[in-house]
Symmetry: C2
Subunit: 88 residues, 2 copies
């Protein structure tokens, strides 16, 4: 659980998680605003290794999505509580 809390303790990564909270797949480029690609790739790697997201290559781009169901099975209510409190 440390990795999960650490991953979401960064403002940039929490923003990414919130953007993914709609359940849809987003490309890395869409998620990055003016953040450089390499920085974005770094944050996505941390989120992925914490088990928060999955990255699926599709042609030229990456489809990133939240692993909501798996996380809820492993840490019931945790992701929901964090995302809910991150709203404002």
């Amino acid at each position: 659980m440390h990795a999960l809390l650490f991953a979401l303790s960064d403002p940039t990564r929490l923003a990414i998680a919130r953007a993914l909270a709609d359940g849809a797949e987003h490309s890395a480029g869409d998620l990055a605003g003016d953040i450089p690609k390499s920085t974005m790739s770094h944050h996505l790697k941390i989120l992925r290794e914490a088990g928060l997201t999955t990255t699926r290559p599709e042609g030229m781009r990456c489809r990133v999505s939240l692993r909501r169901a798996e996380l809820n099975r492993r840490f019931p209510g945790l992701l929901a509580a964090i995302l809910k409190n991150a709203e404002e």
Copy 2:
């Protein structure tokens, strides 16, 4: 919320929070196992500044306790979800 998640993303500090989860006041010395005093003081400071704990001096020692009610008001369900998933 970043400070809170970051504070609890450290194993040592999460262990402290779990020890405090019984609602009782603990002294810093009791919470520290073989952790040096200065290290313990550092971790307690981070927890305190994240709003997770209060430290009340009482004679020679410190009485540390979780700010459960305040946290639950500010971040409903969050601390409970973290502590529950930290059990095991």
